[in-house]
Symmetry: C2
Subunit: 770 residues, 2 copies
């Protein structure tokens, strides 16, 4: 079926005709009609996808539009055309536009969901993917790598899209420059809303990566502007710029756990961006600088508490004569006219200095080359609580010049770097949500560095020609743009805001129909178990957010009689399970909780409180490639189990691990034979700040008797570990824990009797990832 | 004395006013007058240096000219103003011109002779050094490094200069990019005549170096165009391009022993250059490619016989993830529309592949990364004698695509790379001296690679738009520019051509006045010794080119009675000595020949034939930092000496050595105790192709008895060694020679009896230089 009709253009194209007149188009209802239409498309043509779900479609948009006469694929009604299943979109040719798609419930069979080439010979130029959504379009397993948008060619655009939920390996967006057809590409990534990307639990979780070390010598000229990055927490780099002459302008980084990093490549411009923290989360970073000639100007940093790699401005040490894929020395960087509000010690130099590790790392991994010819000038700092240090020198900042910077540090003294940072008392004025600037222009003459006259506008775009001032904002009367107004970003037809619905409570008294009730429940609902024993003989599948709780503590048991090596609770992708006040009992051969063995295409989560877990083979078994952002066990006992919490399957030593936060508070472990807590991250990777264990106020008795590695609490490779206020008693084990001194591992106030000891090793030897 | 006068401008400035009208200027006669005039100079002013020698002047030209109104320093009469002694010129400011100087008989006290900045803050921009000469302005010793022209800042020009004779360490010209003030500099190096630069005997003898590995990420945009490079033999790199976006256009490389090398940095343009060889000398190279994105187009290669590093087109293997200062992989290189006449196998890929050395070198020195995405298209080859191979694969050329290339290989079969090199019979036509092109356009369709349409002109500047053809030249009727017409290069007032004068012969009968007669002689004259014994009691100083010969072989002796450890002949800089048919006799404590111990600010040379050298401590002693391009000993005997030919003082292992060519033919060595022949180059340096020993038809008897290293002919580190047709008899030594198999070391037809043996070690372990 094919019908011709008149289509009124209402969508706003980035590449569009100047006249929004009525155009004739063609409505297509399946892939073969689409292919036929593409094949005969002429400049100016519009092909419209009919409403509905397009399943398993691999669209190859190969055509030739023209300047001001693109060929466009759009949708009958924005928001009513869904691309699902095994699907992808490839552009090949010139002046092509795709507008209004919604990718969901599926994954790409290819290197990416949207690809700006069809094959090596058929490359896209001047093509646009706009006004569309891609959500949760993950491959079936975390290690199955892809991107969602893969740029090739030149002058292509990603605009006004909403993109969220990538959990598998690979940057959400990658620009590829391998080949002369792809350099000096002037791609535009503009006006998009990058919604939450949860922590990946290892490297290769960037939101945008531009090039790679192998193309790091190439000019890219990619523009990333006016985007909102919201909770882009995939890994330590939100944007990894790896090529030359890229520009990052007027983006908003909102509560995103990571940084904009000039990882490779040189001479990038980072101007007029907003980095907004919450005043607490130390994972929310700013800008991390490596390499030569970057200009960091007119940026605004608010409430950031990140340190070292994640500090508001982290300027790294390089490796002398660095290998191509490691850390070049920083030189010729300009940091000027930025404003830092409540960022404590925003400037950190020599980040990554690791001379102490020279016995465990090869010389080609030692970052000892300090920044050179770097200037920090005309910046404004305000700390509502004065900081002892404004500049942290991980290595000497002797190649950095400070000029005409001003701080209100509330009178707390600081190193002023030969007068380069002046103490000035000034007030702030709030000119917008999260935007505080000095209340009036500061009477400090701006330093005129080489080519500083090219910094001609301020954060809000106002001219600096007259009445210039230091700091990111010149005209303190100006009102700021509403940077968190989400209607400014992403598709015109889509909102990510979900209306909160009241949670339902579903009562269950019988184990036999528990699964049925779980299936009936909606995301966020509560299954309420009555007092008594419920017998369960088959794994309970959890694939949504659900709470299972008993009315009273210790009055309700789930007795599991399923097969050996099957879990009572089988945690599927998107299975976020809260269990409260229920006793879980097995027959010694099964698992209380386990992920799927495969196809964990997105995260699970687990919270257990006020429970007793007894007689299982494993209390928790996380299989390889499964990942939970948080696993929390509180006020719970685990006893008579062969294994405890087993999160150590990521043994490929590529930096991956099974959970970001493992939190164990006020728990009791009795008679757990091995893998009592086994939490592993392998591979030396200085920039992934991975894994967090909090273990407090807990008691371990008669545990670890069969532990082959001789360590009760095994945390090898985990970066943040806090073991405190616990009691270890009568555990027949060599070590209670082996901690990594160089990282954020600590122990305190533990009572240890008739057990092993806690040992801290400063520099653990790990397999190099690079 | 200061006089004001009217000055008629006749010199052609690169940056000049449009009207060549009469201008008022000031004539200055000494440095204080010059300084005073500079201090008050205004845009458009001209300061004229009075004729004569300006000795020990350090000119700091700090002033502010304006667009089209430069401030100029020129000379009263071109060719009559000489800068001598300890002198230099520094520019600081904008729009300054220096025109007509002649630097000679001296050296700079600074990093360079001409420097485009006065200090770190006072940098030159839009300044020009033009129409001038710098000759032999060497520092006093070879290791005392400098440049002659040091570029800083932006938009500076070196034009129409004649520059020759640099022998000390350091590139003749260097462009420095360290600091944002110096990047994207658009310097112009144009219309110069680079006269002979003799081999330096080690690294750091480039004629032009643009940047270094530490600034190799920076954009430079330096233009090197329309220059003549004549016998620029300083080292293996004539031009070492180490930054990005440089352009090399329409230069002539005439019998220059080296190559244009893209050593670091990327995306350079090498277009329309001429590489002219002599059909024999294998040291004359072409273009050597490292890194990414270079375009090699419209170049003409004639009679080049270089191989490997010195081949007409050498595309290197890289080191995987190379350290910054080593070898990046070649990618995305275009080699199109070039013409190669009589270059045998002009295309060599994987040059520098050294997998065989992986046992003696660290992994970070192994070049195993083959070129990627490289295209060789639309080139024309002609071999008057067909070559077996047109392409030499030092490693597999599997990342190289050949398209639409044509060869006339005289019917000799060759690998055609899937039809990418076609066999076509065609004739040549001579369109200029050394310029032969295909007699008519070839009927082969040009391959249209990505952006090949940008190759819009041919070698002679003719359009390729219509009637395009493969090869460097489109219009076979066009006459070529007279590329070797020296009046097109260098200063208008200077010629490097010296009128040959008839050599004088001066007869000498008495040793006492021998030095006097040598001093009287002119360069090239002959001192003729009569039969008999001449007694010499003081070293004879040789500081010019001179021949000392006897009328009859074996009839004349020089008996030396000078002090111990002094030489009979003391070879000073520019001392080029030929000794023929004279017997030299010492008392066992002195040297027959020796260089100065220090201040060897330029080369010496030595040729000895038909002589007998007896009873010296050393036959020849070359001190550290002395260098001879050639030392030749023929038909001569050396006997009863403690040491023979000692050329092994360059022990700093930076790749230096004491002579380029050591040639020993038909000589006899008897009773020479140690250092019989000791010729050393230290330091691993794969690209310096350094040192040449030819030892043939000679006899060694009873030699080496005191040799501590156990090697009779010690050639450690020397790259080219040929030991053949010699006789070694009764030498109490372990090894006659230890040869370096991986390099060009060979031995043949030697008769060895009761002596050591000759051993070949494939890979010598040397100290790494980098």
């Amino acid at each position: 079926m094919k019908k011709f009709f008149l289509l009124v253009l209402v969508a706003s194209f980035i590449v569009s005709c100047n006249n929004n007149s009525v155009k004739s188009g063609v409505l297509v209802t399946d892939i073969s009609e689409l292919n036929a239409s593409i094949e005969k498309a002429q400049p100016g043509d519009i092909i419209t996808l009919a409403n509905g779900v397009w399943k398993d479609v691999e669209i190859k948009f190969k055509a030739e539009g023209a300047v001001n006469k693109p060929i466009t694929i759009n949708v009958e009604t924005p928001g009513e055309v869904f691309i699902e299943g095994v699907s992808s979109l490839k552009f090949g040719g010139n002046y092509l536009v795709v507008d209004g798609l919604h990718f969901r419930n599926g994954y790409s069979p290819d290197e990416a969901v949207v690809i700006f080439r069809i094959d090596k010979e058929t490359i896209a130029n001047h093509c646009t993917f706009t006004n569309s959504v891609i959500e949760d379009f993950n491959k079936m397993s975390r290690d199955d790598s892809d991107r969602w948008i893969q740029f090739w060619g030149r002058h292509n655009t990603l605009s006004n899209c909403y993109i969220t939920g990538k959990t598998n390996r690979g940057p959400t967006i990658r620009v590829d420059l391998k080949g002369n057809e792809h350099i000096s590409n002037y791609h535009q990534i503009v006006n998009n809303h990058f919604g939450p990307r949860p922590p990946k639990g290892g490297a290769s979780g960037e939101t945008i990566q531009i090039g790679d070390s192998y193309s790091s010598m190439s000019p890219s000229y990619t523009m990333v502007a006016n985007n909102l990055f919201e909770e882009c927490n995939g890994e330590v780099e939100i944007i990894s710029s790896k090529t030359n002459f890229n520009e990052f302008r007027n983006n908003v980084f909102y509560k995103s756990e990571g940084s904009l990093v000039t990882r490779h490549g040189n001479y990038c411009t980072i101007d007029g961006n907003y980095f907004i923290g919450d005043g607490e989360n130390e994972n929310i970073g700013g800008i991390r600088i490596i390499n030569t000639g970057h200009w960091v100007t007119n940026n605004y940093f608010f409430n950031l508490k990140g340190k070292s790699f994640r500090s508001p401005l982290a300027v790294m040490n390089g490796i002398p004569k660095s290998p191509l894929n490691r850390y070049n020395q920083v030189t010729d960087v300009v940091v000027a006219y930025n404003t830092y509000i409540n960022c404590d010690a925003p400037w950190q130099f020599g980040v990554g200095q690791n001379l102490a590790q020279k016995d465990v790392l090869p010389a080609s991994e030692i970052r000892s080359a300090r920044p050179l010819r770097t200037i920090v000038a005309n910046n404004v700092l305000y700390n509502e609580v004065g900081a002892e240090k404004l500049v942290v020198e991980h290595d000497k900042a002797d190649g950095v010049i400070f000029k005409s910077n001003v701080v209100n540090n509330q009178g707390v003294p600081f190193n002023d770097y030969d007068g380069g940072i002046q103490n000035v008392s000034f007030d702030l004025s709030e000119v917008g949500e999260n935007i505080l600037v000095q209340a009036s222009n500061l009477d400090v003459e701006a330093y005129k560095g080489f080519e500083f006259e090219k910094i001609s506008k301020d954060l809000f775009g106002n001219s600096r020609n007259s009445n210039n001032s230091i700091g990111a904002v010149v005209n303190t009367n100006a009102s700021s743009p509403s940077i968190l107004d989400k209607s400014k970003y992403g598709p015109s037809w889509y909102s990510d805001e979900v209306e909160a619905s009241e949670a339902k409570t579903i009562e269950v008294t019988d184990g036999d129909n528990l699964q049925e009730k779980i299936d009936e429940a909606s995301n966020g609902d509560i299954i309420l178990l009555k007092d008594g024993v419920l017998n369960v003989n088959k794994s309970l599948v959890i694939s949504k957010g659900i709470t299972i709780k008993a009315e009273n503590v210790s009055k309700t048991s789930l007795n599991y009689s399923g097969e050996a090596n099957t879990p009572l609770f089988e945690l599927h992708p998107k299975g976020f399970l809260i269990v409260e006040s229920v006793n879980l009992k097995g027959n010694g051969t099964q698992q209380a909780f386990a992920s799927l063995k495969e196809n964990m295409y997105t995260h699970f989560g687990l919270s257990v409180s006020n429970c007793e877990i007894t007689d299982f083979n494993f209390a928790l078994k996380a299989y390889k490639q499964s990942f939970a952002e948080r696993i929390t066990i509180e006020n719970t006992s685990i006893s008579n189990c062969n294994n405890g919490l087993e999160l150590s399957e990521e043994t490929n030593d590529r930096g991956d691990y099974n959970t970001e936060y493992l939190t164990i508070i006020n728990c009791k472990f009795n008679n757990v034979n091995e893998n009592v807590i086994d939490y592993y991250r392998g591979g030396y990777d200085e920039s992934t700040i991975g894994g967090n264990l909090i273990l407090t106020n807990s008691t371990f008795t008669n545990c670890g008797g069969k532990e082959q590695n001789g360590i009760l609490i095994n945390t090898r490779g985990i970066v943040n570990v806090d073991i405190s206020d616990n009691t270890f008693k009568n555990n027949p084990i060599k070590l209670v824990a082996l901690l990594w001194g160089a990282k954020n591992n600590s122990h305190a106030n533990n009572t240890i009797s008739n057990s092993g000891k806690i040992v801290v090793e400063e520099n653990l030897k790990l397999k190099l990832m690079y």
